[in-house]
Structures are given as C-alpha cells and as structure tokens.
C-alpha cells in the first residue's frame, strides 16, 4: 500500500508574525519557516505505518515555492521515500490545493492520504475534506488514533464533546490532530541520506489545474489589542476587582 502525505511550508509556530502597515498582508521576509506542525504528525503516522509493515511506500508532496524543497527534504529525512514539489509562486487556496492533490492521487494510486487537519498560517481546515470530496473517498478528520484493519481504517476523532470512533472504507483521507503521535526528529545520517532521495518537480499546468484564487483578500489588519491590565497583590484584591470594578462576579 502506498501512503501519500501532503506537507506545507509555513511560518514557524514560534514566530509572532507582523502585519504589514499598508494592510496588504503579513510580513514574511526573514521569518523562520518550517513544516506545518500538523503535517509533521501526518508524515510521522505514515512512516509508522511503513515501519509496522502496513505500507510499502510513503510519498510526500508539497505545493509551494522553490524553498518548499527544504520542507520535503525534512519529510524525507524523517523517513518518507520520495517527494513531489508542485511549484507555485503565489499562495494557493485549499480548493486548488485539493484539485492538485487529486491529480497526484490519480497518478500515484495511494490507498491512504494523511494530511494535517489545518495549516497554522491560514487556519482554513479544509484541504483534507475537499480532497476526499473530489476523490469520492471516505474521510476521517481530526484523528487521534488510526488502526488499519484489512480494507478499513478505524479512526478515533477529537470532536467537540470528546472522542468519536468511526470506521472508514479504504481508500480514505485521514487528517491528523495534535495527539495522533509525537513526530520524530530526523537524525544527521538520515538528513544526509535524504539528500539523495528522489524529488520530482512539477507545475500546476502539468496536472491541468487552474489555481486562480476565488477569494479576494481586500485587507489584512492587526487584531484589536487589549489594554494593559494591572497586577493585584492578593486573592482578596482580585475578588474585590472582579466584583466592584469589572462587575463580572455578583455576590
């Protein structure tokens, strides 16, 4: 069985981003970029399936600028076998990403696609579900446990009220939540080996997919900031403030 894992290059989760003063977007110059943390979890899950003898090959794919090669090399160093980079200049929306991934899935024939549940830049949480729709496959989103059993997968999902267990027919789409696993760090020898693993470059045109944006971004602005608060010296003072100043506690 082949497993496909899409990975996205995003601003590192530790970076506090800055909005450009002219409202045209977020300043990404000289900012540390990394693999989307949820995608790392997805890569880890696929590699574990391979290590458990349940998958033969792990193919990673990224849609992004030339530098997304580094993201793919990271996934290869973790243990993926082969990489595909679909080069684009501008940001591509989830719907177009899903269309490109559908084309890749049609060409590669995976039984399972594991994605991160959301990217921490646009926070859209759409791509996996959209890909599943376009392929006409089953979908198991927000997964915290995945067990393959024959031509089915039993997936535990993190839902608003707790956990939900569902069974999906393969081929399937799984999107990873935070607690699916803890991704490994690539060892130095594996980072060296990853440099020799195959990385193929493509363009959206190779797949005949139009990636024009459907949403027009009119403005990007800073969120409202909170007024600086005060420190209180004791529990008693805190309660007094909450009752008499903020008015959020009665009694």
């Amino acid at each position: 069985m082949k497993v496909l894992v899409p990975v996205k290059r995003v601003v590192d989760f530790n970076v506090k981003i800055r909005v450009k003063a002219d409202g045209t977007g977020v300043d990404l110059s000289n900012v540390k970029m990394s693999m989307n943390p949820f995608d790392e979890i997805a890569v880890e899950e696929a590699i574990r399936l391979k290590e458990a003898g349940k998958a033969e090959e792990v193919v990673v794919v990224s849609i992004g600028p030339a530098q997304a090669q580094e993201t793919l090399r990271t996934a290869l160093a973790m243990g993926a076998d082969r990489a595909i980079l679909i080069k684009v200049e501008d940001m591509v929306e989830p719907l177009a990403v899903a269309k490109l991934l559908k084309a890749v899935a049609d060409a590669e024939g995976p039984r399972l696609v594991v994605l991160g549940k959301q990217a921490i830049d646009d926070d859209a949480n759409q791509t996996g579900q959209m890909l599943s729709a376009l392929l006409g496959w089953s979908q198991a989103t927000f997964a915290s446990a995945v067990a393959l059993e024959g031509d089915k997968a039993r997936v535990t999902r993190e839902v608003d009220g707790g956990l939900q267990v569902i069974e999906v027919a393969l081929p399937a789409i799984v999107t990873a939540d935070l607690r699916l696993n803890e991704p490994r760090y690539a060892s130095l020898p594996n980072i060296m080996k990853a440099k020799k693993k195959p990385l193929e470059e493509k363009t959206p045109a190779d797949y005949g997919v139009n990636v024009d944006a459907r949403l027009k971004v009119l403005k990007t602005e800073e969120p409202g900031t909170r007024k600086a608060g005060v420190k209180v010296a004791s529990v008693a003072e805190l309660l007094d403030k909450l009752k008499n100043e903020a008015g959020v506690l009665q009694f």
Binding site: I17, W137, Q164, V232
Partner: protein
C-alpha cells in the same frame, strides 16, 4: 437570496451554536432555512421553528444522518444547495468536517471561521492564530461559510413559528460508519457558551491535582473548565477542554487562566474574553500581557484560597 443553515444539535437539543450562526446569517441577509439532519430529531426541528425570521425548517432523518458523518451529510446539503446562494454552519467539529466537503462538491472556495459579516459576500476571518484579521470577498456564485460562534451573540428562540418540512435523505454513500462516541459527561456549562471559564495548564502536574484544584473553583463560580494543550497532552484534562488555535475558541465574560504561560496558540482561543484573569508564579509569563488582572502566585495556594473566599 436564500441561506441554508446547517444546524448543530445532538438529536435531542438544538445547540446554542446554531443560534449564534443564525445571527451571522441574518447579517448576510435574505430568507433563511434551517436544515436539521439527524435521527429522531423532531424536537430539535421544533425548537428551531421558534426562531423569528426563519422561513422554514427542513428536517431530514435517516440512520446515516444520526451522527452527521461527513459523506452522507455533505451529500444531503449538496442535493439542496441549488435553491440557495449561501450555505452556512457553525465552526464546530461537525461543521468543520462537513462544510469543506460540500464546498468542494460545489466547486466553491469556503470561507472558514468568519468573525464578522462585512456584506453579503465579504467577511472578516482570523489567520495566523488570530494574529492577523483578513477581510475577504468571495467571488464564487455560491458561498460556503463556517462561523466562529464566539464572535456572534445567540439569537433568541422565541416568538417564531417557522413551518417544519420533512424531506427525504439522499442515499448513504456508505463510505464510513459510526462505531461509538466517548463523550465527556458533565453537569458543567459548555465551554463554547459559558459565561465564566476556569482553565488549567501544565502547572497542575497531574490529573488528580487538576481535579482537586481547578474543579472546585469552577464549580463555585458555575464555570466551564478549560485547559491548555500541554495539560491535555499530559492527560490532566480531556481533549474537549482544550482552548486555543486548534482547540476551542471562547469569549466568555470571565476567563481565569491558572498556571498557563500564554503561548500564542493558547491566546488565539481566549483573547477575546471580556475580562481575563491570570494566576501564574512567573511574573514575566506572557499571559500577563493580555490579562486585565494578574496575580503572581502559586496556584496551589491561590486557588484553594479563592475557592474558600467564593
């Protein structure tokens, strides 16, 4: 112009999130129909019919819709979508699961987690864990939208009498099946709509201490209980208590963060709270930068003292 609102419910009761999403739908404007998809959910449809300004309630009941799994729920919505310009749902785990599937089947780019309606096709939504707010205009013929409900107050379910129309479900694509729910049972208010939330972080150190120290304060205040990712990952609290970029986004009147450092991913879930209290023994903890009232103290002293004083 008509809007189809995909209701959030548990087959027994209509969720407050539906009422909040209705407020967003009213701001978009046009006739609003509410779709209740479920099984044995007639009471939910009845409850929804009490909203004012709703044209009708569509009730679709089938085994496959009982848990609103993505494939049958999306197929149902797509079969109805021809009559609507906008499909809207709260950004609950169900809404987030189902609506992108609908959007792709309709070849529409979804607008996720709007916090403000600027006009019928233009919306504000947070990106980068809420560190930037984007204003986007949707150019597709139809609009598919999820709503961050903390940004909208709940519409009152009273005074209306929208007719309930029973509709047939579409065939179950049989791609996935429900096995079981392991839901946290709790008498406490729900996080998403609570007036007060008391949250605990990694500092709690164990599940036992989380229960001993956080829960009594929450119960005295009639509050919902939240947690940081670190506390959930360590097993001190269940996953559905997680507040943050990738957990629940809340905006209560009072949020009390106990032993939580204030990472951007946590702030993303609570910084729109009306009043924020932080209790942390590190006076430089970033949480104090968003707190209205900060108490530099050990939570194991301060919280029992607070509980006794309430």
């Amino acid at each position: 112009m008509a809007i189809l609102l995909f209701a959030e419910h548990d087959n027994a009761a209509l969720s407050d999130q539906t009422a909040r999403t209705l407020t967003a739908a009213r701001r978009i404007g046009g006739e609003i129909d509410i779709l209740v998809a479920g099984k044995g959910a007639a009471a939910v449809a009845q409850a929804a019919s009490a909203f004012q300004g709703v044209r009708k309630i569509l009730l679709a009941e089938a085994d496959a819709l009982e848990h609103r799994l993505a494939e049958p729920a999306a197929a149902l919505i797509v079969s109805l979508a021809g009559d609507y310009d906008t499909v809207i749902a709260p950004a609950t785990t169900t809404g987030k699961n189902v609506l992108p599937r609908v959007a792709a089947l309709l070849d529409v780019m979804q607008v996720s987690e709007i916090v403000e309606v600027v006009s019928a096709d233009t919306f504000k939504r947070p990106i980068y864990a809420g560190n930037a707010i984007q204003t986007v205009q949707a150019t597709d013929g139809k609009k598919v939208i999820t709503v961050r409900t903390s940004g909208f107050e709940a519409a009152q379910a009273e005074g209306g009498s929208a007719p309930v129309e029973t509709i047939g479900a579409t065939a179950d694509p049989r791609l996935s099946g429900f096995v079981e729910n392991r839901l946290s049972e709790s008498e406490r208010p729900e996080l998403a709509s609570a007036r007060i939330i008391v949250s605990g972080g990694r500092a709690l150190g164990s599940e036992e201490r989380f229960r001993q120290v956080i829960l009594p304060v929450a119960d005295k205040l009639g509050a919902a209980v939240g947690a940081s990712r670190a506390a959930v990952d360590a097993g001190y609290a269940p996953n559905d208590w997680q507040v943050g970029q990738t957990g629940k986004v809340v905006a209560p009147e009072l949020y009390v963060a106990c032993g939580i450092s204030g990472a951007i991913q946590h702030l993303a879930g609570m910084k729109d709270s009306k009043v924020i209290v932080a209790i942390n023994k590190d006076e430089d903890a970033p949480i104090f930068q968003v707190a209205d009232y900060g108490l530099v103290a050990d939570i194991f002293d301060a919280l029992p003292e607070l509980e006794r004083a309430l």
